[in-house]
């Protein structure tokens, strides 16, 4: 699908050399990208080879119903080389947030790319498309976003849906979805679509998704609902450094209590880590500085479908239609907190191990709760 583009465009490595970056810088960049994509050490060479030989890729980045947090997250991407090189090296031919041109000149730049690189450019979409009232709830240059999307998608070789807005509709599609905010895959059916959900996605996940395409000339492997496996195959709960407290039945009961100061598990104050697939626990945010749970607030599942309607943020999951383990958490929590005797504590751990197995089983069998599991 990703055939060779005209040779006149320079390779990444050539561009890097032109920009004064050394081979060492280049290899550092490749190593980082390989690491983000979950490759083994040997994968670094593959990344380097690909960036040395693949031509530049034209990119059109559209903005519809969004808040620009995805663009902002993209420019937070941690290595300078990403901000510096990816931003202009992908030949970002249209993005309303950063481009110098406005009005007709901006539209002209987009149309030039659509024509000259038909079938060759990647279309990035930030935001959902309102389909209510014939699309009048989002107008750009006098056109509806619906028409603009169809026009731009026609010549795209693939579409990247940045963030939850484009991937699943996000906040404006929460009930009652008054503008009929619609994610991209429900409108465009005949193109490969990569969803990079999150509100916003982590900056390095965005950069990593683009680099994957450049490196391997293919779309990244996607999970069942179209997300790159490299970044969305692990539950936040499974990659959380507070997980041992969960397993040991040690929970924050209310914010800023003694347990919060000890960094215990946030499950009982609403953490949705057990049902959220994202890279926050592994990569963390803003160059690995922290992530929501590390800073004391539960995950609220911002990369999951319909997360705004999946129950209040501070309600523990069980009461919000999640896993039926809250009774256990209470009991275990009390036991674990109230005793020092090793024997009883060990009992708590065993209880939690059993509970953990049940969770795995619930997920494997697609059940909503322990209750449902036990019914079978």
């Amino acid at each position: 699908m990703f055939t060779e583009a005209p040779a006149k465009r320079k390779t990444y490595y050539e561009e890097l050399q032109d920009k004064g970056y050394s081979r060492r810088d280049f290899m550092k960049f490749c190593t980082m990208m390989a690491a983000y994509m979950g490759l083994q050490t040997s994968g670094v060479a593959q990344v380097a080879e690909a960036l040395k030989t693949k031509p530049r890729l034209p990119v059109i980045w559209l903005h519809f119903q969004e808040c620009t947090c995805c663009s902002e997250s993209f420019i937070r991407s941690s290595h300078p080389i990403v901000a510096d090189i990816i931003l202009d090296k992908i030949s970002l031919d249209y993005t309303e947030t950063l481009m110098a041109a406005a009005g007709h000149q901006a539209e002209e730049a987009m149309h030039k790319t659509m024509k000259e690189h038909y079938g060759e450019y990647v279309l990035c979409v930030e935001g959902s498309v309102p389909t209510g009232a014939d699309g009048v709830y989002c107008l750009i240059g006098g056109k509806s976003s619906l028409d603009i999307l169809h026009e731009a998608a026609a010549g795209a070789k693939a579409i990247i849906c940045w963030g939850s807005c484009a991937s699943n509709g996000c906040v404006q599609s929460a009930k009652p979805n008054p503008t009929r905010a619609t994610p991209i895959h429900k409108i465009i059916k005949n193109k490969p679509i990569i969803k990079v959900p999150g509100c916003p996605p982590i900056g390095e996940v965005m950069a990593g998704t683009i680099v994957h395409i450049l490196t391997f000339g293919t779309l990244p492997a996607l999970d069942g609902i179209g997300r790159p496996k490299a970044f969305y195959s692990k539950r936040v709960h499974d990659s959380c450094y507070r997980r041992p407290y969960y397993d040991a039945g040690l929970y924050v009961e209310t914010f800023d209590d003694e347990n919060a100061k000890r960094g215990y598990c946030l499950y009982k104050v609403g953490c949705k880590g057990p049902s959220t697939y994202n890279a926050c626990g592994v990569m963390r945010w803003n160059a690995g500085v922290s992530f929501p749970i590390q800073s004391g607030h539960g995950c609220f599942g911002c990369s999951e479908e319909s997360f705004w309607d999946n129950g209040p943020i501070y309600e523990r999951m069980a009461t919000a239609g999640g896993f039926g383990i809250e009774a256990n958490a209470d009991t275990v929590g009390k036991v674990a907190l109230g005793v020092t005797a090793a024997g009883i504590a060990a009992h708590a751990v065993v209880t939690n191990l059993r509970k953990g197995k049940n969770i795995d089983k619930i997920i494997a069998e697609g059940k909503q709760s322990e209750h449902e599991l036990n019914e079978d």
């Binding site: 937070r76 950063l98 041109a101 014939d134 750009i140 906040v171 914010f255 800023d256 945010w285």
Partner: protein, 571 residues
């Protein structure tokens, strides 16, 4: 008469369209239209008020945090929750980090290309560039070699023929006045600012777990202080905050302000263009002794009318005849007719698009022409934002405001009247960043002192559970967003949001005309702006960008049925 359209206005947040009538090389009439709507207020109805900050935070990812802050304050006001001092300080520090980051991004990445000609920088003499850079600042990246390398990269970039985000700019337009060397400094700092902005954002990551969209908490903050634990705010975490805040202050003092003062002298004619309304409003923020202690705000509140700096009028968000919104020229309808103004607590509105069917060339500006409503303060159109804040501070006699404002006027050798202009607006933003960068460190020192004194409280949770709430309550929360005065109003009934409303900075500035045909700030400022070439309306971008538009914020909708809001009494 020529009518021109600039849509999309780029280098802003959101979707903005400007239509302008041009006669004899000047704008005779301008029309500002917000063209995207999401109706987040309607989505909030019936939800848990403690969650509102997360929903409204998603109003905007550029000025991320400001809506969340206004929201938790509105809920805390309604439920009479008093936040511990540490949480107030952390919120203030996050405010300062956001304000400075936002202003720097605006200046370099959203506004600079209106003044800095990238292509002209190709002709700069690197040695001369270095001399200029070193004469205006101690910033270390200033050697001839540094600028020479940068220029080589730039030349190769331009020669590649693929200009990416710089394609199709108005390069070479006669309104660009900077010498090539200053253009090259501008390009260098464009790139450096892009690197720096992701650093200061880490202050939010430490306290709120991520940026954009860090987490907040009704009652305080979720980041517990635990100086002897690796999972809380300890010496390492706080040291990182301190470093980032000091680096921010250095960046503003050694890069942003010197650049501003180096560029401004070439554009002093813009000190007499784009003045606009002459009415300014600020709600104030950044208390040194708690949000409720208005007297100790770093940013004082008030309204200035007709450029009269001798009088600062008081503003009351709870009064039902001060802040009102009109829909005469907005795509909404009121049950009481097209011309009534309603206080946010009494709003009863319904979306109704009556514009042309897309695709279209022009809006019918004789009729409704925007998704933005038109807010008024006691009937006055007012401008909000950094210029308004600086003027209110100045007129209130605050020494720190006077010092930076008088200092800049003296450095540029311009009269105080130059403040009321496109240039004044852009300069005020830089001066504000300078003040705020300093205040951030003051709040940081206070936070450390508090912890040293043994106060480690970060959240008041006694009223966190909905069972503890009254059957019905109302609140208002405000802040000063980078783009200006922001307030949220909430009604809580039976533990749920019964009504939620925002009146945001870009709605004040970018809204369409009111029932009397009076323009809001953008339209007023664009009037009489010269346009050298109607096909390259660079001048329109300069004035519009001087406001730092944020359109996703500006567009919102009240309760569609309006059934709860009529019951609301003013507190």
């Amino acid at each position: 008469m020529t009518r021109i359209v600039v849509d999309p206005i780029t280098r802003i947040e959101g979707h903005l369209r400007i239509e302008a009538e041009i006669k004899n090389g000047k704008i005779e009439e301008a029309y500002s239209s917000g063209t995207m709507v999401r109706l987040i207020e309607e989505i909030l109805r019936g939800r848990d008020p403690r969650d509102a900050w997360a929903f409204v935070g998603r109003v905007c990812g550029v000025c991320t945090t400001v809506h969340s802050l206004a929201s938790i304050r509105a809920v805390e006001d309604a439920l009479d929750i008093h936040v511990p001092p540490n949480a107030e300080l952390v919120r203030n520090i996050m405010f300062c980090a956001q304000n400075v980051q936002d202003h720097v991004i605006h200046f370099y990445h959203l506004h600079a290309l209106d003044w800095v000609d990238i292509v002209s920088a190709l002709k700069a003499d690197p040695k001369k560039t270095s001399e200029i850079a070193q004469s205006i600042s101690n910033w270390p990246k200033s050697s001839p070699g540094y600028f020479s390398d940068l220029q080589k990269r730039l030349i190769k970039f331009v020669e590649s023929g693929q200009l990416g985000i710089f394609a199709n700019g108005y390069w070479g337009h006669p309104a660009y006045k900077l010498p090539a060397e200053i253009n090259l400094i501008g390009v260098a700092h464009y790139l450096e600012a892009l690197e720096w902005q992701k650093e200061i954002a880490k202050v939010h990551t430490i306290f709120g777990g991520k940026n954009p969209h860090p987490n907040f908490l009704v009652g305080g903050m979720a980041c517990a202080i635990a100086i002897d634990d690796s999972s809380g705010l300890n010496a390492e975490r706080l040291a990182l905050v301190g470093k980032l805040l000091r680096d921010a202050k250095t960046f503003v003092e050694q890069v942003y302000i010197p650049d501003l003062l180096a560029i401004a002298p070439y554009y002093l004619d813009w000190g007499a263009i784009g003045g606009g309304l002459g009415n300014f409003m600020a709600y104030g923020d950044l208390s040194t002794s708690g949000y409720r202690d208005v007297a100790n705000y770093k940013f004082p509140a008030g309204v200035i009318l007709d450029k009269d700096l001798s009088k600062v009028h008081e503003v009351d968000l709870r009064s039902d005849n001060e802040v009102e919104e009109y829909i005469t020229n907005s795509w909404y309808e009121y049950a009481g007719g097209n011309d009534v103004g309603l206080h946010p607590w009494k709003g009863e509105t319904k979306l109704k698009y009556t514009g042309p069917k897309p695709p279209f060339d022009f809006l019918n500006t004789e009729d409704k022409y925007s998704y933005l409503k038109t807010p008024r303060w006691k009937g006055h159109a007012v401008e909000v934002g950094p210029l308004a804040r600086m003027l209110v501070g100045y007129a209130s006699g605050r020494p720190d405001f006077k010092e930076v404002v008088d200092g800049a006027l003296k450095a540029l050798n311009v009269p105080a009247t130059a403040l009321f202009s496109t240039l004044g607006r852009t300069a005020a933003r830089g001066l504000e960043a300078q003040l705020v960068a300093g205040w951030g460190l003051e709040f940081y020192d206070q936070l450390l002192a508090n912890i040293r004194n043994g106060d480690t409280r970060m959240a008041a949770t006694d009223k966190f559970r909905p069972e503890t709430w009254p059957k019905k309550s109302m609140g208002v929360g405000h802040t000063e967003a980078p783009r200006g005065a922001l307030a949220h109003w909430i009604v809580i009934e039976d533990q749920k949001i019964a009504n939620y409303q925002l009146v945001v900075p870009s709605t004040w500035n970018a809204s369409p005309r009111d029932k009397e045909g009076k323009s809001s700030a953008y339209e007023a400022a664009l009037k009489d702006t010269p346009v050298h070439d109607v096909n390259q309306p660079l001048e329109i971008l300069r004035t519009v960008h001087s406001f730092d538009p944020c359109l996703a914020c500006a567009v919102h909708l009240y309760d569609e049925e309006g059934k709860h809001v009529n019951q609301v009494k003013v507190l």
